[in-house]
């Protein structure tokens, strides 16, 4: 071979014109096929059809029963470990995944009955100082990506060059939804110099709002909308009906809060400028951005060793949650670079509401090892349950309008614990 390679003379001669033309045709054809593969497939309503797209190894992973594997993983990790083994096992886990055992509460490793309980560990008070900035991190993790969203296209960049539609992530806003309802009732709710407010005919003084010497609003009056009653259900479809198309809301309910104090509402209200929900000029929503404002996004990845509870990133009011049952692919950076629509395909809970600058949304996204998402103020939420997932884009919705008659939602202060991810 070496002799042939070195001693064979090279003779150059021109290719016939037809061969060159064929080569150009082949290159053009290949380019066209590649571009058509990138085109977005849409349904009869013009919405993008979410499908599994990526290289062959992504399709291999997609063929696995990830949801069943996740639940089995959760079951295995809920098994109680022998007390003598716990310190060794958890120390080994902490060493392998880089957990800081000095900041956990309780610090006695024998008090965690299972790996699942250790995974959902709490932190000591003061372990995470809160920055006074308007936006703080809701979790321990790594910043995967962040930026602004072009409001003409409403597409969020997953990684460089791969995008997904914001409507597919959050769900499509519908007329009659709670946000629209609050806006619709705006004329019935007025504020006079921020001294007192009338909400649906009920008068609140500023002292009541901010928890001063007056009695709490809960004591002095009751909201006009009774608890557990959907304020406007004209747009709610039959909860038992199967989903028909992309983005259809298949259930709606009002979630009763466990406990809310007027002082807590007031602390959020003050940070938001006192008059949220009472005197809003603009309806909040990803598609109702105020003039001069921009939509931003940030993605935080929680590695297996990270603290897995999430906290409020700012002072805001959660008006509703949308639970999208979906797949449970890994959400590691490796997967995010290869699987298009990863965050739209996976099971997630979109918590939507408002902060002092307008719309605010937070979406915890599940993964194979952490398929269960808990939200502390929503005891009815059940994630990663047995059964075939509905088509991508369908969701169940709950509104928190009864959580606070003042704020018409669940108020949260910066860094307040909201929930977390559990194994399986």
């Amino acid at each position: 071979v070496i002799t042939a390679w070195t001693s064979t003379p090279t003779k150059w001669y021109p290719l016939p014109l037809a061969v060159g033309a064929l080569l150009l045709v082949a290159i053009q054809y290949r380019r066209k096929v590649r571009n058509s593969a990138k085109e977005v497939e849409v349904d009869e309503e013009g919405r993008e059809v979410i499908k599994l797209k990526g290289p062959w190894h992504v399709h291999v992973i997609g063929a696995l029963p990830l949801r069943n594997m996740s639940r089995l993983w959760g079951y295995v990790n809920s098994l109680e470990l022998p007390v003598w083994f716990r310190p060794y096992g958890y120390r080994l886990y902490a060493y392998a995944f880089g957990c800081n055992l000095d900041e956990i509460e309780p610090s006695d490793l024998r008090s965690y009955p299972s790996l699942g309980a250790f995974f959902y560990r709490k932190l000591k008070d003061g372990a995470r100082p809160v920055d006074p900035a308007v936006l703080v991190s809701p979790a321990d993790g790594t910043i995967l990506h962040f930026g602004t969203i072009d409001q003409d296209y409403m597409r969020v960049e997953q990684v460089k060059g791969i995008t997904y539609h914001l409507d597919a992530l959050l769900g499509v806003e519908r007329p009659g939804s709670p946000v629209a309802m609050v806006e619709h009732n705006r004329d019935a709710s007025t504020v006079d110099d921020q001294e007192f407010a009338i909400v649906n005919g009920i008068e609140y003084t500023l002292e009541q709002l901010i928890g001063g010497s007056g009695t709490s609003s809960e004591e002095s009056s009751t909201p006009s909308t009774p608890p557990n009653e959907v304020a406007d259900d004209s747009d709610h479809p039959d909860p038992h009906a199967p989903p028909k198309k992309f983005g259809q809301r298949i259930d709606a309910s009002v979630v009763e809060p466990e406990r809310n104090t007027t002082a807590h509402d007031a602390s959020v209200a003050l940070e938001m400028g006192v008059k949220p929900a009472l005197e809003r000029k603009y309806s909040t929503g990803a598609r109702n951005v105020r003039p001069g404002n921009t939509l931003h996004f940030a993605v935080i990845y929680l590695a297996p060793g990270d603290y897995h509870r999430f906290h409020s990133p700012t002072a805001w009011v959660v008006e509703k949650r949308r639970h999208f049952v979906g797949e449970l692919f890994s959400v590691s950076p490796w997967m995010a670079k290869r699987l298009e629509n990863l965050f739209v395909l996976n099971e997630r809970v979109a918590l939507l509401g408002r902060w002092k600058y307008g719309f605010f949304g937070m979406v915890p996204v599940g993964a194979t090892n952490v398929g269960s998402i808990k939200v502390n103020f929503d005891q009815t939420l059940r994630t990663n349950v047995r059964g075939r997932p509905p088509p991508p884009g369908t969701y169940t919705e709950a509104v928190y309008s009864n959580a606070s008659p003042i704020l018409r939602g669940q108020p949260l202060t910066p860094a307040e614990e909201m929930g977390g991810f559990c194994l399986g």
Binding site: L123, R128, P129, V130, D131, A133, V134, L135, V136, S137, P138, A139, D140, G141, T142, I143, L144, H145, F146, I149, V156, L166, L169, L170, T284, A286, V289, G292, N293, T294, L295, H296, F297, A298, V299, I300, Y301, L302, Y307, H308, F310, H311, P313, V331, F343, R348, W355, Y357, G358, F359, F360, G361, M362, V363, P364, V365, G366, P414, A415, F421
Partner: protein, 32 residues
């Protein structure tokens, strides 16, 4: 697991982080 934040903010809002940064609960992500 992953958390995606989507929010409306004034034009002068700026992120104070970089892709790949490790963050902890309560750490500043952005400010006005």
């Amino acid at each position: 697991s992953t958390i995606v934040l989507v929010f409306e903010a004034p034009a002068d809002f700026e992120f104070t982080i970089h892709a790949g940064d490790k963050v902890k609960v309560g750490q500043c992500l952005g400010d006005i």
